[in-house]
């Protein structure tokens, strides 16, 4: 099976077109400019939504973009990847009386303008003599870096990958978030004088203690790691993919690797949806998602589910993998699954899926994609000797300070164990809040700053 480069390019081009100017102005005029607007409160970064929309309406695009990016350094990415129905748009007062304002699309309209017009919107602050090392150049790290630079800190970001941006650059499928957008945001941060050292793995190329010694504080924003093992036979076979690695591949360079293949995706979260739609766009012949619970328990958003359906992805509920079957060359040829049923758990907990004995069946497949969550950077966290619960770094909820007073943490490293959301926008906000707490600790509360050091 062959899929042309052109077809691939088309498949991975951003699906949703931006608003046309007339649409944007009409939509902007529809916003009521609410006072103490609920949309602002529903945005984790607290963007002054009525204000940025009003500025679009009166053709102050620079002011609009600045209003957005002031509150949210990753405002261009967020305009594309935020679950707006759940956040800002879900809170818009027009929900019941007409239709909520297309806040995400307007945000994209304004930030696209800034990108197109190559605007430098922010400047770094006067140096305050303090330095911060940031581990991880994802949304959390970059957001902290930008704010810290504006507060006058000397900031160095250590990033394992060739480019910063974290999952925005490597993990969120191109047809929702083109890499260029994430990289523009990285550039904005770099232009504030932030030293972004890519291809540098903390824990390997530079140690935790080195960072702690050479900087006043460290922000740990390393995100999460690979997809875990499923713990079933056959995971080592050729044709078994880690969903995040698969998406990353497509963001680095497009290939028709899966063209003509029959793909089974295990899991039904956001990542599973991305892996499934990605497979379709790589030319897979048939893609289905297996999930051990039912549709109600699926963690993917409704719009993601609809999107996958419209891409032709099939869903099998109450189905769990038992083993992956290989052929004589060590390549995946099928996956054996078992049907599940939901058992009512003790009150408050999710219903527990249990296998129905004897219901095993086999699905022929050339590729199996694991999308059952992400593991933690436990060893990195241990290197910094931080308190954590199963890899989820413990923090003070207000200051984002960890058990080490000189280490702060933000983003996916602190997500889990009932704490926070794994969303770009929350990672950004946490980075911002951590930066402010650092500024408060090192500058505001420290009184006079020695500018020589």
């Amino acid at each position: 099976m062959f899929i042309s480069d052109d077809a691939l390019k088309r498949n991975f081009a951003e699906v949703k077109p931006g608003l046309r100017p007339k649409q944007a102005f009409e939509e902007a005029h529809r916003c009521l400019y609410c006072y103490d607007a609920p949309c602002i409160k529903a945005c984790p970064t607290g963007i002054n939504i009525p204000s940025f929309i009003k500025r679009i309406a009166n053709k102050n695009m620079l002011g609009s973009a600045r209003t957005i990016l002031e509150a949210n350094p990753m405002g261009a990415s967020c305009a594309r990847v935020c679950p707006t129905e759940e956040l800002c748009e879900g809170a818009c007062v027009l929900n019941d009386s007409s239709k909520p304002i297309l806040i995400g699309d307007l945000q994209r309209f304004a930030t696209d303008w800034a990108i197109r017009n190559n605007q430098q919107l922010f400047a770094s602050g006067e140096r305050n003599g303090r330095s911060v090392a940031i581990v991880g150049g994802g949304p959390a790290g970059l957001s902290a870096a930008r704010e810290l630079a504006r507060f006058g800190f000397a900031v160095t970001v250590f990033e394992a990958k060739a480019h910063a941006g974290g999952l925005n650059t490597y993990g969120i499928v191109s047809f929702r978030l083109p890499k260029e957008i994430a990289l523009w945001e990285v550039e904005q941060v770099r232009k504030l004088g932030v030293d972004i050292r890519t291809n540098t793995v903390v824990g390997r190329d530079v140690t935790a203690s080195e960072l702690l010694e050479s900087h006043d504080v460290v922000v740990l924003a390393a995100g999460m790691s690979k997809v875990p093992m499923m713990g079933i036979p056959g995971e080592e076979l050729e044709g078994v993919y880690d969903a995040i690695e698969l998406v990353e591949k497509t963001k680095v360079s497009l290939s028709g690797e899966l063209s003509g293949r029959r793909v089974v995706v295990v899991g039904a979260g956001n990542t599973a949806i991305d892996a499934a739609t990605c497979s379709v766009r790589m030319g897979a012949e048939h893609v289905e998602i297996c999930y051990r619970r039912s549709k109600q328990e699926m963690t993917a958003y409704e719009f993601e589910y609809e999107f996958a359906k419209s891409d032709g992805v099939a869903f099998r509920w109450l189905t769990a993998p038992v083993r992956i079957i290989g052929d004589e060359h060590g390549r995946v040829k099928a996956i054996e699954c078992v049907r599940m049923k939901l058992e009512q758990a003790e009150s408050g907990r999710r219903a527990r899926p249990v296998p129905i004995p004897g219901s095993e069946f086999t699905i022929e497949a050339d590729a199996v994609i694991k999308a059952i969550g992400q593991t933690r950077h436990v060893s990195l966290v241990d290197q910094f000797q931080l308190a954590h619960t199963r890899g989820v770094v413990t923090i003070d909820q207000e200051t984002y300070r960890t058990s080490n007073p000189n280490v702060y943490a933000a983003g996916d490293v602190i997500f889990g164990e009932g704490q926070g959301d794994a969303m770009v926008v929350s990672a950004v906000q946490q980075g911002k809040l951590a930066a402010f707490a650092i500024y408060k600790q090192l500058v505001l509360d420290a009184g006079d700053v020695d500018r020589q050091t």
Binding site: H29, Y35, A37, A57, V93
Partner: protein, 423 residues
């Protein structure tokens, strides 16, 4: 179906919707198309001398994404020779004998000039004449249009000259660019006008281009004041119509003009004293076909109210229009917010808090928040209800009256009586 025919100072028309004298009535072709589309009458684009115009000449004021909230022009009167116009007027009247065909005129303030043009125009068979004392630009600098229209004595004298020669009804079209519209309205009546029409356009500057710093519109980089019309001028026009209608010294029929865009506007003008209406901007915005919606809406409205003849509307609301001194000072309303339809945009809250009387409270009640008006502090200014985007979410309710109705004038009279007694 109600009877839509009107009779304005003897001029009959099948419905009250006329085209005002302006670009839509520039040629026979246009007026005939308009009559076919359903317009009941037309006032032909002003005839006179000389034939001059500028390029460009129109501009519009768009507001919050809404196009043509106001319209502005620096156009002059007809750009076509008199005999061409007369020939087309003749043909049009012959084709449409039952439609009202009025011709607008403007000449220098000279008796013979007026006599000459009146005779020529009436000779082709028109239903009436309208004297343009309103055009605010260009002609005014040569003593015509609003230059005449701003001087009651000139209005009276010229009207009289026209009446000397005219055999058809004469309507005097008034300029709003004057302190007291009734002064010129009375002058027209004194000059024996059969009716007045108002308003013509208001002095205006539509805008300035932010990049070139040219006025909008501009002619080779320079601009001058133009005439304003369209929806934005309706309240001004309506007030002027009402002022004339309630003034017994005026006492002649009124043709209402200014910002009329739909049947509802027309009804308002008629209730406030107009016998019929004239429309320009709405037609320039949407074309002649807009009259279909006007006729249909008006007709349904009349039926729903059980009114048989549209002419019965004329002046019905005039007695309600009075001087401030006659308003009941003891009447009071207060705002009441209906929490079931309120969408919590808080626009009323901030409007009252920042710019009225700080009497809307935001109440948090077990998670839910809602708004409540402290009625005792509410002055009943209406602001909150005005800014509320949800119709009906804020109701202005009558408060129990605290005393017998009493106006300023009554109060002064009562005080005077008391003083007399005391003296």
């Amino acid at each position: 179906m109600a009877d839509l025919r009107i009779n304005l100072a003897g001029i009959q028309s099948p419905n009250p919707f006329w085209l005002a004298s302006a670009p839509p009535t520039n040629t026979g072709y246009q007026v005939q198309r308009a009559f076919e589309a359903g317009w009941g009458g037309a006032v032909w684009k002003t005839l006179g001398d000389p034939i001059i115009n500028t390029s460009s000449r129109f501009a519009a004021v768009h507001f919050n994404g809404q196009r043509v909230a106001g319209f502005n022009n620096i156009e002059l009167i007809t750009d076509r020779p008199l005999d061409v116009n007369l020939k087309e007027i003749y043909e049009t009247k012959k084709r449409f004998p039952n439609h009202a065909l009025v011709v607008s005129l403007m000449v220098e303030p000279k008796r013979d000039k007026w006599h000459e043009i009146v005779k020529k125009v009436e000779a082709v068979g028109v239903d009436g004449l309208e004297l343009n004392f309103g055009c605010p630009h260009g002609m005014a600098e040569r003593g015509m249009g609003s230059a005449s229209g701003q001087q009651p004595d000139l209005v009276e004298r010229q009207t009289y000259w026209v009446k000397e020669a005219a055999r058809t009804p004469v309507i005097v079209k008034l300029t709003p660019n004057i302190t007291d519209i009734t002064a010129t309205a009375i002058a027209a009546a004194n000059g024996c006008a059969d009716a007045i029409s108002l308003i013509n356009t208001i002095n205006s500057l539509a805008g300035v281009d932010l990049d070139s710093w040219n006025t909008i519109p501009h002619v080779a980089g320079r601009g001058s004041h133009g005439g304003y019309c369209g929806p934005a001028v309706k309240p001004i026009a309506l007030n002027m119509v009402a002022e004339c209608a309630r003034n017994p010294e005026v006492g002649i029929p009124i043709s209402g003009i200014g910002g009329i865009s739909d049947w509802k506007d027309a009804v308002e003008f008629m209730l406030m004293g107009a016998a019929g209406v004239q429309v320009c901007t709405a037609v320039m915005h949407h074309g002649f076909r807009i009259v279909e919606e006007m006729i249909d809406g008006l007709s349904n409205y009349l039926d729903s109210k059980g009114i048989e003849r549209v002419s019965d509307l004329t002046g019905r609301a005039v007695p309600r229009y009075t001087d401030w001194g006659n308003l009941d000072l003891n009447y009071a309303v207060a705002a009441r917010i209906h929490t079931d339809t309120c969408i919590n945009c808080n626009k009323c809250y901030i409007a009252c808090e920042d710019t009225a009387h700080q009497c809307i409270e935001r109440i948090e009640d077990s998670g839910a928040s809602y708004l409540k008006v402290r009625e005792e502090d509410c002055v009943g200014c209406n602001l909150c209800a005005i800014v509320c985007p949800v119709e009906g979410a804020i109701e202005m309710v009558d408060l129990p009256s605290t005393g017998v109705p009493m106006s300023w004038n009554e109060r002064q009279a009562a005080l005077a009586k008391l003083n007399m007694k005391g003296a």
